[in-house]
Amino acid sequence: MKISAIITLKKDVLDPQGKVIHQTLDGMGFKDINEVRQGKYFEVDVKENDPSKAKKIVEDMCKKLLANLVIEDYQIIETQ
């Protein structure tokens, strides 16, 4: 089954790319932005079909490779 993971930078970590995107959007006329933060999205199709087990596997992947927990948080989403 497909499990998705969203990796985002922690609140206190500077996100220069997000800042530039914010400025560019602002320049395009999107004036009502508080902040833009850029993150990563992964879709992992695992062989496991039990949702809670599959989520656990992907969570383990997040901890060991997909995210660096010093600067990033992860969020697991079950897609199908």
Binding site: V13, L14, P16, Q17, V20, L65, L66, N68, V70, I71
Partner: protein, 227 residues
Amino acid sequence: MKSSVITFPGSNCDRDMDVALTKFGFKNKMVWHDDNELPKSDLVVLPGGFSYGDYLRCGSMASKSKIMQSVINFAKSGGLVMGICNGFQILVETGLVPGVLLRNKYLEFICKNVFIKLDNKDNPYFKNLDKDIFEFHIAHNEGNYFCTQDQLKEIEDNNQVAIYYCNNKGQTEDQFNPNGSIKNIAGIFNKEKNVLGMMPHPERMIDQSLSGEDGSLFFKNLINNIK
């Protein structure tokens, strides 16, 4: 003295490092990332470059490659492991040294000479060096050193900062910080000081007619310290 330089797919400073180590007396071996066993070494170097195309996070894939388990064991048993530039990024991803390297603050790839100041010489890398300020070269996109406040306190309490960015007089004001690193940190030790990660490239400063010789001083001293 025996050294090993690990080549990952995308490493591009591995041969420069080989030339530098050999020039100053190391018997160097090049080791492929997919090997299991590290040759008998007094020093292991993770070179600069763009291992695995910098995919996911710089150094993240390389830190999981086969040879790295041997390198981690070697480091944990007290062996000297030095990571330069991408090698530093690989070291932080293994957790051998604390912190991470983020995208440079002003989002530009920086390629220039910088001055660095040694913080302390009570370690096998800098012991017996006559001077404190060196001119090395940096070339990176992700060299912005970051760690949590708790980590920073621990790093400072244990004297783990190896080098700071500075000017030619050793001043470490913000304006001499090329990439936004916390406290101008350019290099970090592990607690035991046998693992060193730094962004600047000493191997690019080993020829008077091309670059200057601050790297020569570093390597000459390093091999004498290991002997």
